[in-house]
């Protein structure tokens, strides 16, 4: 442990923070310290506990155990306002701004300067806003409603706002996820100048190249545990990647050899919003893993294939026949199924019964003429409830009241009942418990071995490594590498996905 409890340079400390969620331990006795005038990066895989730690430090979440120390004094945070008053500001990953209000009014939310009549002093507010945004080198009119500006600008406004609050501890959660490299460089300049003024900055990012560019120290989390804290210039990205993925044990995944394989779904120079020039083939009989960071363009690719978003250019081939998919109905007719990432928003009818959910994608098979035959729907639902071992009281139960894992299984039942030839599953095990996870893994594996092409988008390395036959890695909208999973290493995948691998930047390598 590298924490020096007596160091007067420390501005902020989290000691032995533990946070449990039902079924998982999000943080397990994690220590974290921040010096005055330091940029401290926090890295780890998805689900490693970075965001949880940030939320605890910002007073949004309360830890089960552990303490927070500011300037050598223990503090108890009950809400984010209190943290802000103490000078701890969190810039949220999803923006917390009022886009209907002017830029200046967003920066000065609830702390507007007033004149002697207690009227807001708009001139002063706009003047300060203009000068503080000049530091970022961006031209922003303080009086214009924020919604007129793009996400990158909004991100900068959110950071400017935290700075305006005189934060002595600035927590940045993936601040560059929505902005381009030019803005990133400007942002880094501002972060460095804040550091030079003595502000302590915690910087969470998936992008290792950025972390090495900006940080003084790096702390690595894995599965809610502290893996270590290192000084940036004394380490390499290989070391960090190894700390991020090093695992205690290999989990069990279904294993069997591919018996039949032929190209089934192929995209050629496929380009759309969020991805460009993708050429990729999914074979029958195999699970093709699609690995990458959030925002790498994987979901966008899947949505375009399934006809949700219109692609800009490129072709889709099914059985070597060019096909035009204009909407999900057409995709479904061709035997494609898409299990979306967010089951609650995109996947399920939460206020409807299990059988109605399963029936929703199978109306042709459960109807006769214009009428739905209840008996057929019930039989279909019962059949899939058994096959997928869905734990529900009966097929009448509302999906809303099932556990996350069982909801996910209902979502799969909806699509598997159509016997799809191509199944695209986006983060198929997000937020489900261990048991359901294993069931879903088996289900995907079996479906592939029966001759379907399964495309699995996942940010979880063990899942990608354990279940895929081949793995395509995406980064910034492009496929940067395709591997046979037997030959790939976790370090390699993370390096390609995060851009830490020098040859992974622009090259398209096929390791088959």
């Amino acid at each position: 442990m590298l924490i020096d409890r007596e160091n007067p340079n420390l501005i902020f400390e989290a000691r032995q923070i533990t946070k449990n969620y039902p079924g998982t331990c999000a943080l397990d006795s994690v220590d974290f310290s921040l010096k005055r005038g330091e940029i401290h990066a926090l890295v780890g895989e998805n689900g490693a506990g970075k965001s949880t730690l940030m939320l605890v430090m910002a007073g949004v979440l309360r830890p089960d155990h552990g303490s927070l120390w500011l300037d050598g004094k223990e503090i108890h945070l009950s809400d984010p306002n209190q943290a802000q008053h103490l000078g701890i500001s969190l810039v949220f990953q999803e923006l917390a701004l009022c886009t209907n209000m002017s830029v200046a009014e967003n920066i000065f939310t609830n702390m507007q300067p007033v004149n002697r009549f207690d009227f807001i002093d708009f001139e002063e507010m706009n003047r300060v806003t203009r000068s503080s945004l000049e530091a970022f080198g961006v031209e922003i009119d303080p009086q214009v409603p924020l919604r007129k500006y793009n996400l990158a600008t909004q991100q900068i406004v959110e950071i400017a706002r935290a700075i305006q609050r005189n934060a002595s501890v600035l927590l940045l959660d993936e601040p560059t996820s929505a902005i381009g490299s030019r803005e990133t460089q400007r942002l880094f300049q501002v972060i460095r100048s804040l550091r030079d003024r003595g502000v302590g900055v915690v910087y969470v990012s998936h992008k290792l190249d950025e972390v090495f560019d900006i940080s003084d120290r790096i702390t690595v989390l894995k599965d809610g545990k502290l893996m270590g804290t290192v000084t940036t210039h004394e380490t390499t990205s290989d070391d960090i990647v190894r700390m991020m993925v090093g695992r205690d044990f290999e989990k069990m995944f279904p294993q069997s050899n591919i018996t039949m394989s032929a190209p089934l779904l192929r995209v050629n120079h496929f380009t759309g919003k969020g991805f460009s020039d993708i050429s990729l083939t999914a074979n029958s009989g195999e699970v093709l893993g699609l690995f990458g960071l959030t925002g790498a363009g994987r979901s966008e690719l899947a949505r375009a294939i399934f006809g949700i978003d219109a692609p800009l250019s490129g072709d889709i081939y099914l059985d070597d026949q060019i096909v035009h998919i204009k909407n999900p109905r057409e995709a479904m007719k061709m035997g494609i199924a898409y299990v979306p990432e967010d089951r609650k928003i995109d996947g399920l009818f939460l206020e409807m019964s299990l059988q109605n959910n399963v029936g929703s994608t199978n109306l042709e098979t459960i109807s006769q003429g214009m009428m739905i035959i209840n008996r057929k729907q019930a039989a279909l639902a019962k059949d899939w409830m058994q096959q997928l071992m869905i734990k529900a009281r009966n097929i009448e139960q509302l999906v809303n009241y099932l556990s996350g894992g069982n909801q996910q299984k209902v979502l799969f039942a909806k699509w598997l009942a159509r016997s799809p030839r191509v199944l695209i599953a986006d983060e198929p095990t997000r937020g489900v418990d261990v048991g359901a996870k294993a069931d879903i893994h088996t289900l995907l594996h079996d479906l592939a071995r029966k001759g379907a092409a399964v495309v699995m988008i996942s940010s979880e390395l063990p899942e990608i490594m354990g279940l895929s036959d081949r793995i395509a890695v995406m980064r910034a909208g492009k496929v940067v590498g395709v591997f046979n999973s037997a030959d790939a290493t976790e370090e390699q995948l993370v390096a390609y996905a995060s851009g830490a691998s020098t040859n992974g930047n622009n090259s398209y390598e096929v390791h088959q």
Binding site: F92, N100, F119
Partner: protein
Amino acid sequence: MTEKTSTSGITTNKDFRTGITNFLFRLVRVREMAMVVLILISCVIMSILSPHFLSITNFLSISRGFSMEGMVTIGMALLLITGAFDLSVGAVMALSGIVTAFLIVTARLPYFVAVLGGLGVGLTVGAINGLLVTRIKVNPLIATLGMMTITRGMALGLTEGSPVVNVPSDFAWLGQGNVGRIPVPFIILCVMVLVTDILLRKGRTLRQLYYVGGNQKAALLSGIPVNRIILFTFMGSGLAAALGGIITMARLTSGIPTAYAGVELRVIAACVIGGASLSGGEGTIIGALLGLVFMALVSNAMTMLGVSIYWEGVVTGAILILAVSLDMLSRRRL
């Protein structure tokens, strides 16, 4: 504004110029200006079509007619800005008028106390609406629909459906009187509009309504007491409706249990025509009032042109849909 000035002169002139273009640019895009232009155009058309239109008497009669709805519109605009709305305002107008009339006629209380009683009705209904929405998280549509039905039912039940009459004529001044030639209700409305509009633009407290309506989560994280603000806005809306109801009762010298049925939708329409949005965070008091003026003008015009009053709904509805559609189309281009 030439370039042939000293260095310092150029900068000031440049600032001046951008200041003016900026000002004009913003003026044209502001919904209020569009409304004013629209109202002027309809006034011109009307004065050509009907010689009686452009008379002070006609304007004063229009102004007295919409003053009470105008008060309700202020409250509704505030609510819409926070992202809520109130269907119970019409019923509150009726009940508060009846309660005040009751207290004057039957209980023989001083006017002042009777008016306080009527205002209390509005404040109570508003508080119940606000508590249902903020504490129990009942959807505003359902909460205020329920309260509308209850309040209207009380107005009808207490009076057995017949008006409370015999309100003394000196109380009627509140609704019928003039200061100079200007109707008293219109003066009250103007004061209310000026105060709330300025406070909403510049006052720190009312400015918070826009944050709440724009992004409730962001407002909460910035330390704005979201629930308290929504509750107080509902109470303000109830209060404004009660005031409108009491003044109407004074104007008619009787409390009428069926008065103002359906006014809530007219008022919401006026706010939306004037720039408010049902999703919150948008709109101004002046804009909402101009929306109401426009609707009143249209109905006045139809009367003067001899169109049956029964057709009014067709025109008002069309205007509402047109205003919102134009707004959506202009936004899409941005």
